[in-house]
Structures are given as C-alpha cells and as structure tokens.
C-alpha cells in the first residue's frame, strides 16, 4: 500500500512539473486511485506525461455535473499496470462552450470513447480524427444528449425518415463488401463495410451500437444501488458474473466497504468457473467458423456440467443473482465443494485431450497461423485487453495488475504468446482455461470460513468515485461509479472488453483474404449473436450480390478444405 501511495505522489509530481498551474487539484479517493483535476487546455500535455510513465488508457467518462458544480466533467481513466494504480485526469468543461481537446491523436484507443462522450453528454472533442456519430441511432435528433441529467430516462424522440450512417469513402478502385448489421460472429448487431480488391481486404469502416439500451441511464435514474447488480449481470450473455462483480466492487471501493474474505474467495471461484465455460464456448465457436464442428460439439458438451454447477451454486445457470454490495447473497455449501472438484477434474482431463488433439491438426494450424496478426505495438496503442493483448505479447492481466476478490492470495499465471496471430490467441485461451481450473482447486482448498456478507449500516456517502476492473474471459472490463444521493449512483460507467478490442479489427484484417475475416473477428471472442446476411456492392457498377450467412461460412470452410492453401 505504501508503495502505491509513493507512486501516486511521483505521478502527481511529474504531472505538476509538466503542466504547472494547469494542475488544479489532486486527491486520492480510494488508495489505488489518483484523481488529478487539470485545466482543459493542459489535457494533452498531461496525457503525454502519463503516456511517458507508460500509463494505459482505459476509457473516458462524461458527467453532467451541472446540478453539483455548474459544469460538465470529462474524466479520462488511465491505469499504471505495474504500479497497481489508477490515474484519473478530470477536466471541468463550461456548459456555455462544451469543447475539450481530443487526445485520440496521442492515444488511438481513445477514438470511440471520445465520440461516445460527445454523443451522450454533448462535450465535443476538438481535433478528433473521425468525428462521426458512434453511440446514438442515425435518426436520433441533433442536440439531444441522453446522459444529461435533465433528459428523462423514458423519453422517446420521434422517428425520422431517410437517415443512414455516414459512410467512409473506400480507396480508389476498391469494392465495398458490407458485413452486417446482423452477422453471426459479431457480439451485437454491427455493420462492417470491407473495402476489397478482389479477395483482398484493403480497409474497412464500422458502424455499431445498434444494441445500445441505455442501461447506464437506468442505473442513475430509476434503479437503486442494490438493484443494479441484476441489470449488470445481464450486460453479457456469457460472462455475467464479471459485470456484477465489477459494479459491486466499484461501489464497495467508493464507499469503503470491506467485503468478508470468504465472499472474495467465492467471487474468485465463480469468476474462474465462468472463464472455464466461456473459453470452452469460444473454442467451439472458433472451430465452427472454420468448419471444424467436432470441436464445437465436444467443447460445448464439456462445458455443460459447468453450467449445471453454476445453477446449483447460485440458483441459475447464467443469471446468478449472487453478487450484492458488501458480498454475496448465497454461501457455497460444503456439499457442493466436492461436486465442483469432481466437475473440474473431468473438464481438465477432457480439455487436455482436446488440446493434445488439436495442436497436431495441420488444417487448423493452416487456418489460424499468421491470420489476423495484431502487433504488440498496435495492441498497446489501441489499448487492446485480454487474450488478444496477451496473444500479442502485451503482459497485462487485471487479476495481477489490480488484484481484486481473492487474486492477491491465489494469483493467476500470466499466459502470453508473442506471435499475435489467431493461433496465438487460441494457445493463450487454452492455457488460461487449464490455469483457471488450477485456481478453482486452490481457491477451494484455501476457502476461509466466516460470513459472506458485510452488512452496510450507513448510507453510502455522496460524490465518491470508485474504479473497478475485472478480467473477464474476453479481457478487462471497467466499471466506474460516482456515488450520488437518493440511494443510487450519480454516474455509472461500463466499458466491456470488446469495446477496445473491436477497434483493433481494421489493422488485423488489413490485406487479409475475405475468407479469413470471420475467424479474425471470431478470434477476438465477441459473443455469438444473430443470423444474417452479407451483401457485396461493386462500386463501379453498383451491381449487388447478396451472400447468405451459409455462403460466407462456406467460403471460410472451403478454404479449410483446401488445407488453407490460398
């Protein structure tokens, strides 16, 4: 702890040296969070200084603070991974002229975050490289900002006619191949326009957020602190526990609530069980995309007992409803512990068998080696997280960098690969799967006795901030909470791992073959979503060809049958 405070003091000093009086205030809320209030005109210099200290950008949070201090606040969240410290750069922006300098040129990974802040709160990033709409629907009226406090959560603007996304111009001579807005390997409805020359992808354009449901608004307008975990765990259809854990931890951190040790261990165990079933699910989907359905059938068979286990522990196979502020609602009975051990033994035995079978499969290697390469340098710049980052040799893992739950006592092994291709991401996930099983065993062996819930007797104080990161199977999820009065957060911000990871896609599919695009997207592990179609438009003739989902899958599989020969 002392070292964290020491690092915080050093960071504070370094920023103060760089921007002088531009640093208006510095404070430390939770011990691992340094909050620096900087003048808006010094934001870029402060960011440069943090980058020099090897800080990693997480997300921006726009807050309409007009009822509190008559301004908007834009918070830039950074993480100093090795030093276990979060740094928040906070700018107060005048409501008369809500503009702030864009940092997207310094941090390419801030591209979406700044656009989202503009769409939701109405603070425009000046000098942004791609200032198109991101979050809001194309027919949403101009000048209406849903996350402003005076915007009612149930307001429905009238529908507009004749609107469309603003497309990016393809390079000269290239054709456009749209994928989506509904496509099976994407987590949510999202619309990719691939610019192709023949079979080769030379660029792409993205439009997404069709599934945006405004849950952050609900969290700060109608729900209360203890109702949000049930909404949070529904953010992801596979790894819900990470979101309810991250939210509860953020509130606990802000309010200074000490969670009982036993509850922290059970959270760890649940999170690792979730990783086990999620990675098995991903392995199956990756196989399915490549036309290797044996892997799909077998890994999904292997993961089913883990789902049943979750049902027995929590009362439901997916929406566990276990987390609450202060700990857990359910204890782990001793009778279930033996079952958990039995199931993970079986899953481990079978996972090892599958791993040993697929590592020698030359067809699989041909389809994944050197496909969708993400360089370590670009991964750092776009702030990629999770297995895609570790597969590109970026040694980050929220469980080690910002230990939470019981990871301080049962730490994970850091699984990294250097190649950065799809095969490297497969290896990282398989290794993590086996390591998760080890952690479940170790956690159960060391499970302390005692309570699982700390009763919160006092009101949660206002205007405190809490940042919590949780290493989801897909990468690091970030939850930010600023506490408010009336028993609910003033602002709740969620950043799921796919948010930064999808931003790395353009580089990963550059100069790839069209048939490699599905597995490259799939290798980022966005959750599997809906059934759809893909259509190709030849720019010069405007002729149109509609590919069905089957045809595109068939293209991908045909390449597998050719043994990956292009």
């Amino acid at each position: 702890m002392a070292s964290v405070l020491g690092v915080a003091a050093q960071v504070n000093e370094a920023v103060a040296r760089k921007i002088g009086a531009g640093l208006r205030a510095a404070s430390q809320g939770p011990p691992d969070t340094l909050r620096l209030v900087v003048a808006p005109e010094e934001l870029r210099s402060a960011t440069e200084e943090l980058l020099r200290l090897r800080a990693r950008f997480l997300i921006t949070v726009g807050i309409d603070a007009r009822p509190l201090s008559a301004d908007y606040r834009v918070l830039y969240l950074f993480s100093l991974d090795g030093e276990h410290l979060f740094v928040v750069l906070e700018c107060a922006v005048s409501p008369d002229d809500p503009h702030v300098d864009s940092i997207a040129a310094l941090v390419p990974g801030a591209n979406w975050a700044e656009r989202e802040c503009r769409d939701a709160v109405g603070v425009t990033p000046d000098g942004h490289p791609d200032p198109r709409r991101l979050l809001l629907a194309d027919d949403w009226p101009e000048g209406l900002f849903p996350l402003r406090r005076d915007f009612p959560y149930d307001y429905r603007p009238p529908a507009a006619e004749g609107v469309a996304p603003v497309p990016k111009q393809p390079p000269e001579g290239a054709s456009v191949l749209p994928i989506g807005p509904f496509f099976p390997v994407l987590e949510e409805p999202s619309y990719w326009r691939l610019f192709v020359e023949g079979e080769t992808v030379v660029g792409c354009d993205y439009r997404g957020f069709y599934n945006h449901r405004g849950i952050e608004k609900l969290g700060e307008s109608t729900l209360t602190y203890n109702e949000i975990p049930y909404l949070a765990e529904r953010i992801c259809g596979i790894c819900g526990f990470i979101h309810s854990t991250a939210y509860c931890q953020a509130v606990e951190k802000a309010a200074g609530i000490e969670v009982p040790r036993r509850a922290r261990y059970i959270r760890s165990i649940m999170l690792e069980l979730e990783r086990v079933h999620s990675h098995l699910l991903w392995l199956g989907i990756a196989g399915h995309i490549l036309g290797f359905d044996t892997v799909l059938m077998q890994t999904w068979r292997m993961r089913e007992p883990v789902m049943w286990l979750a049902e027995e522990i929590s009362g439901n196979r997916k929406t566990y409803g276990m987390n609450t502020i202060g700990g857990l609602r359910r204890d782990l009975p001793a009778t279930v512990v033996a079952k958990v051990l039995k199931v993970v033994d079986e899953v481990e035995r079978e996972s090892v068998a599958v791993r040993d079978a697929i590592v020698g499969d030359t067809t699989l290697l041909a389809r994944t080696k050197n496909v969708g390469v993400l360089t370590g340098d670009w991964a750092r710049q776009v702030c990629v997280v999770g297995p895609p980052a570790r597969g590109s040799g970026v040694p980050i893992d929220a469980r080690l960098d910002h230990p939470y739950a019981a990871y301080d006592e049962v730490p994970p092994r850091l699984c990294t690969q250097q190649a950065g291709d799809t095969w490297a991401r497969v290896l990282v996930r398989v290794e993590e799967l086996l390591d998760s099983i080890r952690q479940v065993r170790e956690g159960l062996a060391r499970l302390p006795a005692g309570e699982v819930l700390a009763e919160v007797k006092d009101e949660i104080p206002r205007d405190r901030i809490g940042i919590s990161v949780v290493e989801a199977p897909r990468g690091e999820a970030v939850h930010f909470v600023m506490t408010g009065g009336d028993n609910r957060p003033y602002r709740w911000r969620v950043r799921a791992p796919t948010y930064p990871n999808l931003q790395a896609m353009p580089a990963m599919i550059d100069h790839a073959a069209i048939a490699d695009v599905p597995i490259t997207l799939g290798s980022l592990d966005p959750c599997f979503s809906c059934t759809e179609r893909v259509e190709a438009i030849d720019v010069s003739t405007h002729s149109r060809r509609v590919y069905s989902r089957q045809e595109l899958l068939a293209m991908s599989r045909e390449l597998t049958l050719r043994g990956g020969r292009r």
């Binding site: 009362g315 609602r329 068998a353 040993d356 009101e459 028993n487």
Partner: protein
Amino acid sequence: MLTAKLREALICFKAGRVTLPYPFAPHDPAPGFRGKITLDPDRCFGCGGCANVCPAGVIQVRDAGQLLRVLEFQWRRCTYCGRCEEVCPEQAITMSQQFETATDRGDDMVMRLEVFMGPCQRCGRCYVPPTPLDRMDRTGFRTGSGGRS
C-alpha cells in the same frame, strides 16, 4: 495429422449419448434453483417490502380504502432474482422449482393478492417500532436471509 484426427475421433466415441430425454422424462433443476414465485396469502401482512426491492418493478402496491391493500405481481417481467423472497419478513413469498411457465394467455402472468389491513387508530400503522417496515425503509443496503433460508 493422422494422429490428430484419430485423437479427435476417439474423443467423439468416448462421449456417447449426451442428449437428455427431456421433455419425455422429467428434468428437475438443482436444489436451490430460483423458479416461479409462489405466494402464501395467509402469511402476507402487506408491508410492501418486496415491491420496494424488486429490480424489475414486478410488484405494485395500492390501497383500496383504509382496510384493503392490493399487491399485484406482473410476473411476466420477473427476472427470478429472488430479492422479494429474501426480504419478506414472513416468508410469504418463496421461489419454487417451477420453470415450465410458458403460456399463451397474458392473464396467467398476473397474480393478485388482497390483504385486509387493520390500521392502528392512533398512529395509522399497526406495529411498535422497530418493525420490519423500518428495515425496508433504510437506504443503502438491506440484509436478508441469503436467499436459501
């Protein structure tokens, strides 16, 4: 290559039959599963704590005159979190094991409970504080029995 394929084939053969015969044979959920809520009208004394904590807003409470309190459960919205069961001071709500709840009639998804109330002549309430009602009123966190009681 060939060994890889043989290993894969072996995994498939070992798996055997996996599909369960459900619905031709019953498939009971694990103990502790949170299914459809059930109400015990004799136990409910109308405190409305369940309505206070329900994240999905399933439960509406309204008073008809001075003597009747109506609790309406629009449980098509129910997310089966079990918070109502947890806070109910009289165990009037419990989560059953029932999961086969599909229906083509909207009325099936509404439960209505009428509780006869006898308000105190002096204060308008029925109980000496601290009552379970005071616990419901507290903001922040409310403790519970742990869902499994």
